[in-house]
Each structure stands twice: as C-alpha cells, then as structure tokens.
C-alpha cells in the first residue's frame, strides 16, 4: 500500500492518502452453505476513484458488492462508509448513505414503463399525483446527456437486453450518489455505448464520485479504472495500484492464474451443404411494427456466419422467429430440406436447432430447477435421459457432472438451483446445454455475455470445434470483436435486412461500422448521401 497512484490525465487530484476514504472493507466473509463466496476480504476506495474488481465467474464479485448495497448481510467483517461502520441493513439504508448500484441481474419491473422504473423509490408528485411527465422528461434528459438512448414510454419487458441495460444504468445515474457500484454494466452494450459510459464514469469521478466497477472486459479496466483488485475463489489475490503500465494479458493471467489466448486460431472453413436458408423473412416486433423486413441469408454446414448490426435492427426478432418463439408474417426458414417456418420452439429444437438466447434469465434457464435439470431442458424426454416416460436421474446427473467439468461451471454440486449460480456460470450452463446436444444449426446470441476471459476463450474454441465438426453457426453479438475473430463470413443487418455480406478474413472494423449505421456506400465511396 506504499505506492502512489500515478494520474496520467484529467484534473490534478491529491495523491492517495490525502483524500477521504469513502469505502473501507475489513475482513469481510460470506458463505452459502459450503461455498465460501467471500473470504476475509479487505479493500478501500477513496473519494473520486474508479476501482475495478476483476475475477473469474463465481469469484465472489457480485456477492461482495451486494453486501455493500445491503442486499446481503456479511457473516463477519466490517464495511465502513465515510467512517461509519454501522451495519447496512437494506438497500434503503445504502441509498440513504449515498450508494447507488447497477445490478448484474437487472432490477427492473417488467410491466412498467422506463419512466416508471426510473422514478420508482424517489417519485416526485404534484399534489399527491405522480409526476409522470416529469419522469419522462428526466429520462429524456439523462438519456441525451449520457448518450444512452431509450424511449421513456416503452414497457421494459418489450425491450431487448441491451436497452434494458441502458435503463438499468440510467436508473442508477438518476440519483445523486457518492459511491456508484457497477456490476458488469457493459456486458451487452455496444462498443460506442461502452465508450460513452466510460466517459461518464470518468466525469463522475472527477466530480468526486467513487466508483466500483466490475467487468470482464479488460480493455475497459485499462481505459477507465485508477486501480484494480483481483478476486479468486472469494479471496483478494492481488491488485494493481497503478494501471498505466499494465496490459490486458497481465490482467488476464492475474485473474485466471495462467496465460490466456485472447485471439483465437482457426483453420480455414470448409463449408458444406446449406443448413439454414432464410428467404424473404418478415417478422413483427412486440408493437406490431416490422422488425425483420425481407431478410435473406444462407448458413452452410461448417461455417460461422456472424450477424453484425446495431441493436434494435431486428436481430432479436429474427433469432426468436427462427427459434420458433415468434411467428413470422412472410417468407420462409428451412433447415436442410425441412420447412421450419411455422414450427414451434420445441419442434425447432427437435429438428436440430440449438439456441443460446440473449436473455438467459428469461429464456435460457429455469432458476428454481437444479443445474442438472437445466442441462437437459432440451432433451429431458429423450434417451438416455428418459426410458419411455420414466426419467433416468442417474443419466441426467452423469451428464451434468461431465458438462460441469468440461465447461468449468463453478458450483458446489449439480443439484444446486441454477438461480443461485453467478451470472457467468448461468451463461455457461446455457451454452453447455445447447452445444452438448450437437445441433445441426447453432444459433448463439451474445454467447459470452458476462463470461470471464478464460471461459470466453474456451467457448470460442468450442464454437470453432462445433463448426469443424460440421455444424452451421449463426452468431449474433453486440461485441464486434467477437464477430470479427470468430466469423468466416459476416452479414450486416440494418433495418431488418441484410445490407452486406463480406468474408470474415480481413474484414475491416470501420467499414463494418459504417455498414451497420446504414451507410450502404461504405467501402466503395467516401461521400455518402446526406441524411
């Protein structure tokens, strides 16, 4: 603790030790049954500092910050906020003491509008009546100021996860706080939105707000944080007091305890027959407006097609429609020679489509079921998991034990409810289930959302292996880097239509960026039509 933080940019801030300590944690421990989620953790955050928390999935990051926000009670140890060691009873108490939090598992009321969600808990009223117009205005202002666009009147349950993420962030920014906790706020943001958010964080910090920032994207740590702590299996195993000379691979190996390959090597694809063929597909969104509007795409066996696009251009509706979760109004979807345009989710699944949905909590898992049951949700009634109509729990268990090992799902056992897993481990359960069924077509939306670097490497490897084994892969991701490093072919979607297809090899970031923005002349011409 002797080293002083070096500030390379921004206003002149007093050196550490001269500044007020805002948060100080001492000897904090928390366990769930036999799992020691936090073991004797000590750390401090000064006023105006951005401190990153790093660690693998299940390392105990969320557990730690939930205790700061009063959502969980520590077994032992103290949390001191501005010198006050009184126990933080509940979130209300935490809010009173100037703490705000963006939750990894969004805390939004699905049937309420964005404005209602934002005002909840600190509603302003006029003569006893809720000032909804004021709340809408607040959403518009915050949304413009922080460049996170949302419609104040949209109902949260109709929104794609990326937008929900923006709402969750705006909700935290709508209150004045001294300590802002951000638990994976960027997991489903686009790169531009992420950059905006990092800018907002730096601005808040120079205004005196302290920020605790959890992320798996190491680039963001280097871009925004002053210091970082690394957690492993519930313990603080290290940290960096001055991040100026640190690289992402340094951080990766500190987290995982070994070197991590951040760039994947893969052989040239050898595409075979067409597996997925989409012709003129039209799908409506929740409000009945056309979202997918004449979409054509073929995906062949043994190739990975990345679908790049700005969120809200029909990706979600497209994927849901192929998966049989949303009816289409025109066009066709074929899997091999089979017409699956009108198939429901179950038939589509049985026909050989694996689907990693973008919203794992809602469409990927049954939180109250065990991990083992979740791992066979798509095949529970088939051999070997059932004999006739009797389930074979031994087979289900063995399957789960194998997958848990293989996909490195961190849990005490396979009987634990899936809802008790850490966010990244939930994601691994969904990916493991869909991949282990060896689908003809693997359709993965944000497959590495909230997954740690070591596991991203592993999941990417497995997707490439699946391709090499002959599966067709349709990858949808907000993460352009993920699309670029995995895809053999990239299709750009804009306004519900494919506006360009280009080979994955040597694809140019900026060109794709322009195409995503709807600039059809990108690449060929530099002066685009005015709009």
């Amino acid at each position: 603790m002797s080293e002083h933080t070096a500030y390379t940019e921004g206003p002149k801030v007093p050196a550490r030790g001269e500044r007020e300590t805002l948060l100080e944690i001492d000897g904090l421990s928390k366990s769930f049954g036999t799992v020691h989620a936090n073991k004797d953790i000590s750390l401090r955050v000064d006023r105006g500092e951005i401190v990153a928390l790093l660690g693998e999935n299940g390392a105990g990051k969320s557990t730690l910050v939930k205790q700061i926000f009063g959502l969980m009670t520590p077994d032992s140890g103290t949390i001191r906020i501005k010198g006050d060691t009184a126990r933080i009873k509940d979130p209300k108490d935490a809010i009173r003491r100037g703490i705000g939090m963006v939750h990894q598992h969004f805390q939004l009321v699905p049937v309420m509008t964005v404005a209602e969600n934002l005002m909840l808990g600190h509603e302003s009223t006029k003569g006893g009546v809720l000032d909804l117009e004021g709340a809408r205005q607040m959403v518009r202002e915050l949304s413009a100021r922080h460049k996170l666009s949302v419609d104040p009147d949209a109902e949260v349950e109709d929104l794609p996860v990326g937008t929900q993420q923006r709402v969750e962030i705006l909700k935290a920014l709508s209150r004045q706080v001294d300590l802002l906790i951000l638990d994976e706020p960027t997991a489903v943001l686009t790169p531009q939105e992420t950059d905006e958010l990092l800018g907002v964080m730096r601005e808040l910090a120079s205004g005196g707000t302290s920020i605790v920032f959890i992320t798996h994207k190491l680039r963001e740590v280097l871009a925004a944080a002053d210091r970082c702590y690394v957690l492993r299996q519930g313990e603080v195993v290290g940290g960096v007091d001055d991040l100026t000379h640190t690289t992402t691979s340094d951080l990766a190996s500190m987290m995982v305890g070994r070197d991590v390959v951040l760039r994947i090597d893969k052989a040239e694809a050898t595409p075979g027959d067409t597996v997925l063929s989409i012709k003129g597909l039209k799908v409506k969104d929740d409000r009945g407006l056309p979202a997918v509007d004449g979409f054509d795409l073929d995906v062949r066996a043994g190739e990975i097609v990345g679908l790049a696009g700005v969120e809200g251009n029909g990706q979600r509706e497209l994927v849901e429609s192929i998966a049989g979760m949303r009816p289409s109004v025109a066009g066709s979807v074929h899997l091999g020679s089979k017409d699956i345009t009108k198939s429901n989710a179950r038939d589509t699944n049985n026909a050989g489509v694996g689907h990693v949905p973008e919203d794992r909590e809602k469409h990927g898992l049954v939180g109250g079921y065990s991990i083992a049951d979740n791992l066979v949700l798509n095949r529970y009634d088939e051999e070997p998991f059932a004999k006739g109509f009797i389930r074979d729990f031994g087979a289900v268990r063995n399957h789960a034990v194998t997958l848990r090992e293989e996909f490195d799902i961190r849990s005490p056992n396979v009987e634990a409810p899936a809802g008790s897993l850490s966010g990244g481990n939930k994601q691994k359960v969904v990916v493991a289930r869909e991949m282990s069924a060896k689908p003809q077509l693997l359709m993965a939306a944000q497959p590495t959302r909230g997954v740690d670097v070591g596991s991203i490497e592993f999941i990417h490897r497995r997707i490439v292996d699946a391709r090499d084994a002959g599966a067709a892969v349709l990858l949808v991701s907000a993460e352009l880097d993920e699309i670029l490093s995995l895809s053999d072919r990239i299709a750009v979607i804009h306004d519900g239509r494919v506006v360009a297809e280009l080979p994955g090899k040597g694809a140019d970031r900026t060109e794709i960026g322009r195409l995503m923005a709807g600039d059809s002349d990108a690449g060929s011409d530099s002066h685009s039509p005015s709009h």
């Binding site: 805390q107 309420m112 600190h122 509603e123």
Partner: protein, 329 residues
C-alpha cells in the same frame, strides 16, 4: 380524454352499456330502476371483496380468505350492534374484526412466510368455526343501516336512485372503487404497491420496504372485507345467519381476475354479475320462463366458470403473487 384514446374498446363498451341502460329506462323506468338497484344491491359485497383482493394481490399476497374475513365481519358487526344496541359500534366492530383478520393473513404470510393459500384456508375454516360456535339466535339490532339520498346526485335519472339512494356501506363501496383505482395508478403508494407485487426485488433495490408495504396493504384491505360482511348483516339485512357470506368471497376473487386486477374493471364485473342475478330473478318473478329456483341460483356460479374460462390467458396476474419475498442470503 387521453384515457378514451388509450382504451377505445372499454370506452366503447361503457358507452354502449350506458345507452342500453337508458334505453331500457325510458321504455320502463320502474322495472329498470328496480332491476339495476337490485343488481347494485347484490354487487356491493362483491365490489368490496374484489378491492380486498386488489390490494393484496397487487402487492403480491393472494387472499383466498376473503370469504372468511367477510363472515367474521358480518358476525362481529351484528353481535356488537346487538350487544350495545348501537349500529355505529357495530360498523366499527365489523371493520376492526376485518383488520384483525387482515393482520393475521399479513403477518403469517409476509413475516412468518406461511404459504398464502394455506393461510387463507385457515382463515376460512376458523371463520366458519367461530361464527357458528358463538352464534346465538334471537338477537336483534335496533335497526339496519338506513338508506339516504345524496344531495343532487340522487336526482340524476336512473343513476341517482340506483347508486346514490342507498346505505352508507354501498356508497362507500362505490367511492372506494374509484379511489383505489386512482391511487393504484396515479399515486406514489400505487406505483410502489404495483412494483412490490410484480417484482419485489426491483422495489427493494430502489429503497422500498417490501415487507412493510405488504403488511400495510393486506392489513388495511381486511377493513374492506369486514365492511363487506357488515353490509350483509346490517345494511342488506338486519340479521346474522350461519355462513351468511355464502361464497361471495370466492365470487369476489373471480371478479378480481375478470377485472384484470384493476379496481374499476372489477367494479364493472361485479355489476355484471349482480345484473345477471337480478335478471334471473326478474325472469322468474314475472313468469316469463319457468326454470326451477335451483337453476336460477346456480346462474352466478355457472357465469363465474364461463367468465373465468373466457378471461383465462387474456389477463395476467401480478408477477410475484403468491411468492414470499426472501432476501439474497
């Protein structure tokens, strides 16, 4: 006016019904007034019962004990009035007994985390037991709660004699349905109540005390159940009979669902049930059709089934209804 734009179907249906009712009124004002009055007379306890359900379920607590709460209210109101010979004390006793029953449901489920269905069943069984055990025949109260005319409003044709020339509890039921609707959708309490019933952890992380709000709502709702019972024994009649609530508490639950957990729709649904029953007895009385009385009495229950079957899948219960709120650890 904005409401009309957003609720075209409902506004249209309401207008049609109103026109129909007035057309009937101009054809035969006596029969119309007596049929609609009887419909409202029957609907009052259903409205109050449905409001009990709204307050509980909107904050995440199922209340299948409305039936029992009503019965106790009817019992306590009547016998307190009989013992003191004061109807005012009777009404107060009915309301207080409702609070007590509400508090039992609230504390056992929200704090004690007893299963909400089981707690409701307990209330119903205990209510039947107590009210039969302590029942004494031959008691009388000085008089039932009197009807009175609300100035001005009672002069409106049809609506006046139907809604504004009744007893105090009937008038209260009408007011409470509108008030609750307004409060649920326009006030801070309402927003918080809905959040707590839909997604309690979101409310909790926004700094709302989920447990306290549920306790408050379920307890206060008990008052309405108590008054519904008091209505039965002191306003609609002035006597107490064993099992006097006779299924109205359960019917109120059906109305709650049919009304999509919205107070004014529930009010409309209750009126519809009341009207159907009133129509049935009118038909019976005027000898237009000759159906045995038993079938006429069946009508509300058959309607309940039909209506619920039609509503199923169209309406959605609050997200967290029936689930206790447990913190992360």
């Amino acid at each position: 006016m904005q409401w009309v734009q957003h609720n075209k179907i409902w506004a249209g249906a309401a207008a049609l019904i109103l026109i129909g009712a007035y057309a009937f009124y101009f054809v035969n004002s006596n029969i119309a007034v007596s049929m609609f009055s009887y419909a409202w007379f029957l609907a009052v306890p259903l409205v109050l019962g449905a409001m009990v359900g709204v307050m509980g379920e909107r904050s995440g607590v199922v209340n299948i004990g409305i039936e029992g709460q009503m019965l106790v209210g009817a019992f306590a109101g009547f016998f307190a009035a009989a013992a003191t010979q004061s109807v005012v004390i009777g009404v107060i006793a009915g309301a207080l007994s409702g609070i007590a029953m509400g508090a039992f449901l609230a504390f056992s489920t929200v704090v004690g985390q007893l299963d909400q269905i089981i707690a409701g069943v307990v209330i119903n069984i205990v209510a039947t037991g107590i009210t039969s055990f302590y029942f004494e025949s031959g008691k009388t109260i000085p008089r039932g709660l009197p009807n009175f005319d609300v100035p001005l409003l009672s002069d409106i044709p049809l609506i006046g004699p139907v809604f504004f020339s009744d007893g105090p509890i009937a008038l209260f039921a009408l007011i409470i349905a509108f008030t609750l609707h307004f409060m649920l959708f326009k006030t801070r309490w309402g927003l918080r109540t809905r959040a707590v019933g839909e997604y309690p952890s979101a409310a909790d992380t926004a700094g709302i005390n989920v447990v306290a709000l549920r306790l408050f709502n379920v307890t206060v709702a008990g008052t309405l159940a108590g008054l519904a019972g008091t209505y039965l024994s002191m306003e609609a009649t002035s006597t107490f009979e064993r099992n006097m609530s006779s299924g109205r508490g359960f019917l109120a639950l059906a109305i709650l669902i049919f009304g999509a957990w919205r107070p004014l729709r529930a009010l409309a649904a209750a009126l519809f049930f009341g009207f159907m029953q009133s129509l049935a007895s009118q038909l019976q009385a005027s000898d237009v059709v000759n159906i045995p009385q038993q079938f006429i009495n069946l009508l509300p229950y058959v309607l309940t089934l039909v209506v619920l079957a039609a509503a199923a899948g169209r309406v959605r219960a609050p997200g967290a209804v029936g689930q206790p709120f447990v913190k992360g650890d």
